[in-house]
């Protein structure tokens, strides 16, 4: 059915816009007039809470919210009358009256929507005093995120993204009127509820009310300690986004400059999580092959994404035996560094500090999981270590934003650095590892390896287009020498939930499912630079696939360093040693 076109007047000019269009979209897309918004997030947060986008509509008694009111035939809209300007300005002033005036030290000071809005609307004075008498306590309970309710403007974007996109419902509005705040169940704090640490709330927060738990001080301290060997690993999605922090165009492949910058920060070795992504494919690929051949539990579901893992542990504990036992690439990297590499280099593992740079806030939680101490168990007997001397496989996790901040603090001119390579041996990787950063990437990488291992034939075409792209749920039938492998890929936990309900009922038609916690995969992770470009995920994904296409080796099993680690250390994929070091277990976190 064709959409009816409506005649509307915006600021005295005539436009034809499709039926069902909001005033906001009509103004922005057709009249090319921006109407400022604060609480609005297209498709996710459309509540009309902030009252900033108000416009005058002829015949309406009150000002109308452009973000939620749809145009009607003959509607006359005025976006720039003094009544409108005054109302917008006054509502921003009301928000500012209770907003902390610590912009100098606020993490979001350069990218704060509220600050921008105040500047845009020409707010030069706040004529209202602060009405809140007490400062509200921070929520410091989470290992990944910190919430400062004093900076919250109650826009509800975080609440909506948590509920509607991620289906986690960890936060909601509590209290009434001017006492309302965003909080968790019984004010327990993010660390004590079902929050999966994905950080999507942080990405959409217009102010500095939600930030990551910063580990910059710990990393600077390690870098300054001459007794430590500080090793850094960088996740696949970081390299295609970190350039944004330094004014480079969206979708810049900044791999070489990133390695150069990290080296200049003083890391002793600049390695790559892509190495352990290749290792993951070996382990997980063989796990899949094993389950198919031996009639194991199917579908097998990927385990790279720590937000997803906490989600499935919390909401679907019954499907845990479907989850691959493989650790995530970050954790495999930490273990391998402190066992294989330490042994090879003759370094005391206790001196090694593993810092990972991740597009992710949930990784900060993952590294603290009590079972993530495989290297310690490996060495305990050999070095005669006591239980209290236990050390973690990964010591610090920095988000892409934190890494960029350190580079800024060090005064490194990122954009003009020469391109440099990662260090060997843990810096060697393939195109299959790079695409881990995009939704569908782990699937594609696994298929490349599984196909060749199972069929002993070379793949004619490496690109599995069906599992690429930003759609929330994708599926494909892959022909492996006459055997059809049914696969599905989901990103965003709301989509994951849909697939898991099938699995839980025993109705899933698939053999293999890839799940990434964040929409778009790691490139859209909660640790990534905050962008106002609506196409940012597409740009980052394009860069990832360009990086893959440009790699000399594009299949994990062909990575020579991977071959070497199996020959010299692990034996073969899924060997007993590999199981001890590279695999893990899960726990039931559901409410009982």
């Amino acid at each position: 059915m064709e959409t009816r076109m409506l005649n509307v007047k915006i600021n005295g000019r005539d436009y034809q816009v499709p039926d069902g269009t909001t005033i906001l979209k009509a103004a922005r897309d057709y009249a090319k007039i921006d109407v400022p918004t604060l609480c609005y997030l297209e498709g996710i947060s459309e509540e009309g809470a902030c009252a900033i986008c108000v416009v005058e509509v002829k015949g309406a008694r009150n000002l109308q919210r452009a973000c939620v009111v749809k145009v009607s035939e003959g509607m006359e809209v005025w976006t720039n009358t003094s009544r409108v300007r005054e109302a917008r300005k006054l509502n921003v002033e009301l928000l500012l009256a209770n907003h902390p005036k610590d912009c100098f030290t606020c993490e979001k000071n350069q990218i704060c929507d509220l600050r921008e809005l105040a500047a845009e609307l020409g707010v030069r004075e706040v004529e209202f005093p602060r009405t809140r008498t007490e400062l509200l306590p921070f929520d410091n309970t989470s290992l990944s995120l910190v919430r400062d309710p004093n900076k919250c403007v109650l826009c509800r974007r975080c609440v909506n993204v948590c509920a509607k996109v991620q289906s986690v419902y960890a936060i909601d509005i509590v209290g009434r009127g001017s006492n309302s705040t965003v909080s968790t169940f019984l004010d327990e704090g993010l660390g004590n509820v079902e929050c999966v640490n994905c950080g999507q709330c942080l990405l959409v927060c217009p102010t500095g009310a939600i930030t990551e738990r910063s580990e910059i001080p710990e990393v600077w301290k390690a870098l300054g300690d001459p007794d430590k060997v500080v090793v850094v690993e960088t996740a696949p999605a970081v390299r295609v986004a970190i350039g944004e922090e330094f004014g480079m165009p969206d979708g810049t492949q900044a791999t070489g400059k990133m390695a150069a910058a990290l080296r200049r920060l003083g890391f002793n070795k600049v390695f790559d999580t892509d190495f352990s992504a290749d290792l993951t494919i070996m382990e997980e690929g063989f796990e899949l092959i094993g389950r198919i051949k031996n009639g194991g539990t199917l579908p097998l579901i990927t385990s790279c994404s720590p937000g997803w893992i906490k989600f499935v542990e919390t909401f679907f504990p019954k499907v845990l035996d479907h989850i691959s036992t493989c650790k995530s690439p970050q954790q495999m990297f930490g273990t391998v560094t402190k066992t294989y590499w330490a042994e090879k280099m003759g370094i005391d593992p206790r001196k090694i500090v593993v810092v990972s740079i991740m597009p992710c806030t949930a990784k900060k939680f993952e590294k603290e999981r009590p079972e993530m101490k495989s290297a310690f168990h490996y060495w305990q007997e050999k070095l005669g270590l006591k239980d209290e001397e236990a050390f973690k496989d990964v010591d610090c996790v920095l988000t892409t934003r934190e890494a960029a901040q350190m580079i800024r603090e060090a005064g490194i001119d990122f954009a003009n650095l020469p391109d440099e390579d990662f260090d060997k041996p843990l810096g060697e990787s393939t195109g299959a590892a790079v695409i881990f950063g995009a939704t569908g990437g782990v699937m594609e990488a696994a298929l490349r390896t599984a196909y060749e291992v199972l069929t002993k034939k070379t793949l004619a075409k490496l690109d599995f287009e069906d599992v690429r792209g930003l759609d929330g749920i994708k599926s494909a039938d892959v022909d492996i020498d006459g055997t059809i492998l049914k696969v599905a890929v989901a990103s965003g936990l709301g989509n994951a939930r849909a697939l898991m309900e099938q699995v839980q009922k025993g109705e899933s038609p698939y053999h293999f499912i890839e799940i990434m916690c964040c929409p778009g995969g790691c490139l859209g992770g909660g640790g990534q630079p905050i962008s106002d470009n609506p196409d940012i995920k597409k740009k980052r994904a394009e860069a990832i696939y360009r990086e893959d296409a440009g790699k000399p080796i594009r299949k994990s099993h062909e990575n020579p360093e991977i071959t070497e680690i199996y020959e010299d250390f692990l034996g073969e994929p899924n060997s007993e040693k590999a199981h001890h070091l590279l695999h893990t277990e899960y726990c039931d976190r559901s409410c009982k």
Binding site: L90, E127, V153
Partner: protein, 594 residues
């Protein structure tokens, strides 16, 4: 054989003033006198004259006994019922004429009223469906089921009935829109979340005549094509919930609810939903969210509930008083309904009369009745010989009617013209001792507390206004405050998401409009002309009147008053906390409050 009936008012006010014990005494006394089989005791809904409670009416003579206590209740049995002598000490004495009233028909409070919505309240036993049926109950449902839905809606449109919840939207149009809306199933909802301070007409109907609402909702279900109704009552109305629930059970038993009602094939049933105490849940979109089990916050209209209400399905939502009119309109027709009231606001309106007025309680009068009739004829005027100053209507969403408008006919439109609203019908009478700044501050404080917090202007703006009002009342008002209040109020009205926020500034705007001089006195002269705002008062002792009795000095909690016996006392203004206890204790009128 029953020869007499004792109707005992079991409305909220009478219960609070001891109705239960009075009833027990009556029952005991009847037994003692051996006439328990001849006299029936019936607890009814609210009779309206709340300041006269507990009330007992003896039928068939209709003798109206007021302020009955445990001590004198026995007289009604021993004197009236046994000896046939009226207990004159329990009769009501009209204060102006000092004439004793024998029945409610002799009391102006009752004679000026036109009882339609409240026609059964205080007359029938709300727990008895038979009594409701005897008063033509469920006749309208039967009649409606023989009409077409369109005919029912036409009668409603023709009747001109407007929503009694506050905004006065034409009820017939609402029904029409819900009937015509696409989507299934459809729902019927009754808004019983009566929240305006002082208003209790909906509670009285639910407690006193629950079947009238059940009947109306069933008619609505038939008219719009719904099989399911929800009665949303606030948790603070436990008696209403209890009686309504009981009534639903009875209605099902008698076949007025359930499947195949009266053999017509029409199915309809009602479930009760209990609110959790948020004022904003009286706002229809917030109420619908609350029924769904979600946090009660309003959402933008459109879509209106008629298009997308409960679970996004077409939903008809009316308030209790609106529904209470429906069966009678169906039974008697649109013309009958229009026979009282004003042209644009036909029918009656129930007001909750309170404040500085002789007779407080529920009164039902034709729309278009003047404030003068309400306050001076029905309400019996202002007590203590004080002067009428204003009446506050519409609760926290409304404003004031000043003495200049005493003769203005009250309806939806006239009130709107002078900057207040009908609201749910709260009417608080203020005498000359009321400070209008203080009154406005009180109502604003209510909305500040009850704002849901969703939208910026209501959440942040009302609190800013409230703090300004507090400042002004504390003598810290500044030049420009009135302009700032006006500016803020207008933006809050213009940009708040729901009716609560859009009307929250009304008490302030309305009082600034009519009593700007009082605001100016507070701000510029640091004086409260009505001597209410205590920070603006000075207590001093007039030497010519002070006899040096020392009572004030002994009473003063902060030792601010000094003076020797039989000598003039003095107030130390730096210590005085303006509690007023010296003013109250002085028997010589020697304390000056200004």
């Amino acid at each position: 054989m029953i020869r007499n009936q004792l109707l005992v008012c079991a409305g909220g006010a009478c219960i609070t003033s001891g109705e239960k014990s009075v009833k027990d005494v009556l029952v005991d006394e009847l037994k003692k006198n051996g006439i328990e089989d001849e006299v029936q005791v019936i607890e009814t809904g609210c009779m309206g004259a709340c300041d006269l409670g507990p009330i007992v009416v003896v039928y068939p003579e209709g003798t109206f006994y007021q302020k009955v206590t445990v001590k004198n209740a026995g007289l009604i049995v021993s004197e009236h019922l046994v000896k046939g002598r009226t207990v004159s000490e329990l009769l009501y004495t009209e204060p102006t004429s000092e004439k004793q009233a024998r029945t409610s028909g002799d009391i102006p409070f009752y004679t000026r009223q036109v009882k339609r919505v409240l026609r059964n309240c205080g007359v029938i036993d709300p727990l008895s469906i038979e009594e409701y049926i005897a008063r033509d109950g469920y006749f309208a449902l039967g009649k409606a089921l023989e009409m077409t839905p369109d005919d029912i809606i036409r009668v409603l449109v023709d009747s001109g009935l407007r929503g009694r919840g506050g905004a006065g939207f034409p009820t017939g149009l609402k029904w029409k829109a819900t009937r015509e809306a696409k989507g299934s199933p459809k729902y019927v909802v009754c808004n019983g979340d009566e929240g305006d301070p002082g208003a209790f007409m909906d509670r009285s109907v639910l407690e006193g005549d629950p079947h009238s609402i059940i009947e109306a909702m069933a008619i609505a279900g038939y008219a719009i094509g719904a099989e399911k109704g929800y009665m949303y009552v606030r948790a603070e109305y436990p008696l209403a919930i209890e009686r309504f629930e009981y009534a639903i059970g009875k209605a099902r038993e008698y076949g007025f609810l359930g499947r195949d009602i009266l053999g017509t094939g029409f199915n309809f049933d009602i479930e009760i939903r209990i609110g959790a105490g948020a004022f904003v849940c009286g706002e229809e979109t917030a109420l619908l969210r609350s029924i769904e089990g979600k946090r009660g916050t309003p959402s933008i209209k459109p879509p209106f509930p008629a298009q997308a209400g409960l679970w996004a399905k077409p939903t008809l939502i009316n308030n209790v008083e609106t529904y209470a009119n429906i069966p009678q309109i169906i039974t008697n027709g649109a013309e009958w309904f229009r026979s009282v009231g004003s042209v644009k606001s036909p029918g009656t309106k129930v007001f909750a009369l309170a404040g500085n007025v002789q007779n407080t309680g529920l009164v039902e009068v034709p729309m278009g009745t003047t404030l003068r009739e309400l306050v001076f004829e029905i309400g019996g005027g202002i007590p203590g010989g004080k002067k009428f100053k204003a009446a506050q209507t519409g609760g926290p969403s409304g404003g004031v009617i000043t003495a200049d408008y005493l003769d203005m006919p009250i309806d939806f439109d006239t009130l709107k013209e002078i900057g207040t609203i009908m609201g749910s019908g709260g009417l608080i009478v203020l005498d000359e001792s009321s400070c209008m700044v203080d009154i406005a501050k009180f109502y604003l404080g209510f909305t500040v507390d009850e704002s849901c917090g969703k939208c910026t202007p209501c959440r942040e703006g009302t609190r800013q206004m409230y703090q300004m009002m507090e400042r002004i009342c504390e003598g810290k008002g500044r030049d420009g405050d009135i302009e700032k209040l006006n500016k803020l109020a207008n933006v809050i009205k213009d940009t708040s998401l729901c009716g609560l926020g859009q009307s929250a500034p009304n008490p302030v705007l309305s009082t600034i409009r009519f009593y700007e001089d009082e605001y100016r006195a507070h701000i510029y002269e640091k004086k409260c002309p009505s001597h209410v705002c205590k920070h603006l008062l000075t207590y001093s002792i007039m030497p010519d009147k002070c006899v040096g009795c020392t009572a004030c000095a002994r009473q003063c909690p902060v030792d601010a008053i000094t003076g020797e016996v039989k000598k003039t006392h003095v107030v130390d203004q730096s210590k005085c906390i303006k509690c007023g206890s010296c003013y109250e204790i002085c028997r010589f009128g020697a304390i000056r409050k200004e």
